[in-house]
């Protein structure tokens, strides 16, 4: 856990509106666990004022170059342009100075290797699943169910396949893979593997639908949530979500950045989780 004052190694559009950024971060990889995130400082001058939270897609090394420079360790993020911060990010260039605080938060519990693993990703929610898949495939059989609105929202699937993950793609408009919701695929897979454990990340409605399915079938579920964050380290208490047993008279809040962003489904209050005003998407304050 450290603040890396560093530079961008690459930043490319990988699908309309989606970017992949590599950032130089020596030593980051040793500490990063699947499901953790980082707080990205978009530029050294303000605005935007606050850092932006992004899941860690993967860490790795750029090969040593011909001048005998040692390999460069990097962290990679995938991001969708939604508002002002990500808009500025999309225009950053190789060599630009940025800051990365991380790795932060509590990641996924890898669970019992004997169980089948089903990962459910919706759009950019796929990000934290890659490192998870990488760990899980050592010992378990892993399936990725990847959903999106159109083919443009389906990212990095071949990279999962290279890990040996069986992948199933579905899109709302049928422009790639099966037409329909990812939850429909999930139901089929759970019919087949009723004892699988499920790991999900994606838009709230998807996560809620996945939770309903898993609860009904008594299947173990871990979810990675998005919350508004200011500090990312448990200091501001801005990022809380409602925990199981929450009520107005006895509120129970869990700190998303410190106790999450990954939660076991049982930890959360699913009745109220998604009923609040959402983020100000695209408002570009």
């Amino acid at each position: 856990m450290k603040n890396y004052k560093t530079v961008i190694l690459s930043n490319q559009e990988i699908s309309p509106g989606y970017f992949r950024m590599r950032i130089l971060t020596p030593g980051f990889g040793e500490k990063a666990k699947p499901g953790q995130f980082l707080m990205f400082r978009v530029q050294l001058s303000l605005p935007p004022l606050l850092r932006r939270p992004f899941g860690i897609f993967r860490t790795g090394f750029m090969p040593a170059d011909c001048e005998g420079q040692p390999p460069k360790e990097f962290v990679e993020i995938l991001y969708k342009v939604v508002g002002r911060g990500t808009d500025i990010m999309s225009r950053l260039q190789v060599g630009n100075q940025v800051e990365v605080l991380g790795p932060l938060g509590r990641g996924f519990d890898l669970g019992n290797p004997a169980e089948e693993k089903i990962l459910v990703g919706g759009g950019i929610g796929l990000v934290p699943l890659y490192m998870l898949a990488n760990e899980l495939t050592h010992k378990s059989s892993v399936r990725l169910l990847m959903g999106g609105r159109t083919r443009d929202d389906i990212l990095a699937v071949t990279e999962f396949e290279r890990l040996g993950v069986e992948t199933y793609v579905s899109t709302d408009d049928g422009s790639l893979g099966e037409e329909g919701l990812v939850t429909q695929v999930l139901k089929r897979k759970l019919d087949k593997f009723p004892n699988a454990s499920v790991y999900a990340c994606g838009p709230m409605p998807m996560i809620e639908a996945v939770q309903a399915i898993c609860e009904e079938r008594g299947v173990s579920l871990q979810v990675s949530l998005e919350a508004l964050m200011a500090c990312g380290v448990g200091a501001c208490l801005g990022c809380v979500v409602k925990g199981a047993g929450h009520s107005e008279s006895t509120p129970r809040y869990l700190c998303s950045c410190k106790e999450g962003p990954v939660f076991r489904a049982e930890q959360l209050d699913w009745k109220k989780l998604g009923q609040e005003p959402g983020f100000c998407e695209g408002c570009k304050i």
Partner: protein, 316 residues
């Protein structure tokens, strides 16, 4: 002073940045603002807690408090709104679980607290009086985000005076009182709390603000309104600190929108004896270190041997 002399000084020794607030000795005038630095340990991985002037805790109450519904924060232009609702572990859990960590660190601990009722203010003050690791307390009579967060006390000079008197009676520690900017004339409240026994005044807390998501037509905070902090409010904070410094004799801690060293200098120049850094911690967890180093470098450059030469040096 000629440039030559300055250069000579710079070579000779480092400026003295130590200040004293309400009897608390600080190695330098920079500390975190309550609520933006957790209980200290959250930021320990990112900066040396022994380099800062003091550690100021999240606001504590007698009983643990769960805080407001979410969303609790919203970014605004050069600022942020928060309506955390003073979520905290309560004074007893703080003493049992958070203080042991702070005990090991050679930096004074200032405990920020508030009460739901007058009695609670008194009770918390009593409990904190017994704790040797607490160097001083900061009384929050200014939180705009919960009905009982003190704003009722903070906006009425008479009520402010009453709560400060009561705390004063129950407290054996140095007492800093934190004021709200949401008033017509902050120097009136400042004088009232000084008379009631405040050893120092801290200002400003956040300004009440609101933001709306135009698509959903809902307030961007569940609490509807929240406290505005960050660089956007700095000119207002500097003005108010200047006003309070004119109005009272006790030392003043300046807070509001400090991000860079030059921001802290503004507050010192208008007369703040120390400064607090809030929202900037979120932007850069080591912001306070940069600010301390920057103040020192400025003193060297300007031939200032002791920070007191700078404090209140405004030319008008």
């Amino acid at each position: 002073m000629s440039k030559k002399t300055n250069e000579k000084k710079a070579q000779n020794k480092r400026p003295n940045l130590a200040v004293e607030i309400a009897g608390i000795k600080l190695k330098n005038p920079v500390m975190p603002a309550s609520g933006t630095f957790g209980y200290g340990e959250e930021y320990a991985p990112f900066l040396d807690l022994e380099r800062i002037g003091a550690i100021v805790t999240k606001g504590l109450s007698l009983k643990p408090k769960a805080g407001n519904p979410t969303p609790r924060i919203a970014e605004t232009i050069s600022g942020m709104l928060n309506a955390i609702g003073l979520q905290n572990v309560g004074v007893d859990a703080f003493i049992a679980h958070k203080l042991p960590f702070l005990r090991e660190i050679n930096t004074p601990v200032i405990v920020n607290f508030f009460g739901n009722t007058l009695e609670e203010y008194g009770e918390v003050a009593k409990r904190l009086s017994d704790i040797p690791e607490v160097a001083g307390v900061e009384l929050n009579i200014s939180c705009p985000n919960v009905k009982q967060g003190g704003i009722v006390f903070g906006t009425d000079p008479k009520a402010a005076s009453e709560v400060v008197s009561l705390v004063r009676k129950n407290l054996t520690k140095p007492l800093i009182v934190k004021l709200t900017p949401n008033v017509t004339d902050i120097s009136v409240t400042a004088r009232a709390v000084e008379e009631a026994g405040a050893d120092a005044i801290c200002c400003i807390n956040t300004l009440t603000g609101m933001a709306v998501d135009v698509k959903t037509r809902r307030p961007r905070l569940a609490n509807k309104t929240g406290g505005l902090s960050g660089p956007a409010i700095r000119p207002i904070a500097v003005r108010m600190v200047h006003q309070v410094v004119q109005a009272v004799k006790v030392p003043v801690i300046g807070v509001g929108g400090i991000v860079r060293p030059v921001d802290a200098l503004e507050f010192l120049i208008v007369g703040a004896t120390a400064v607090q850094v809030g929202t900037a911690n979120f932007v850069d967890p080591a912001a306070m270190i940069t600010i301390i180093d920057g103040i020192e470098a400025f003193c060297v450059e300007e031939g200032i041997e002791d920070i007191h030469e700078l404090i209140g040096s405004l030319k008008v």
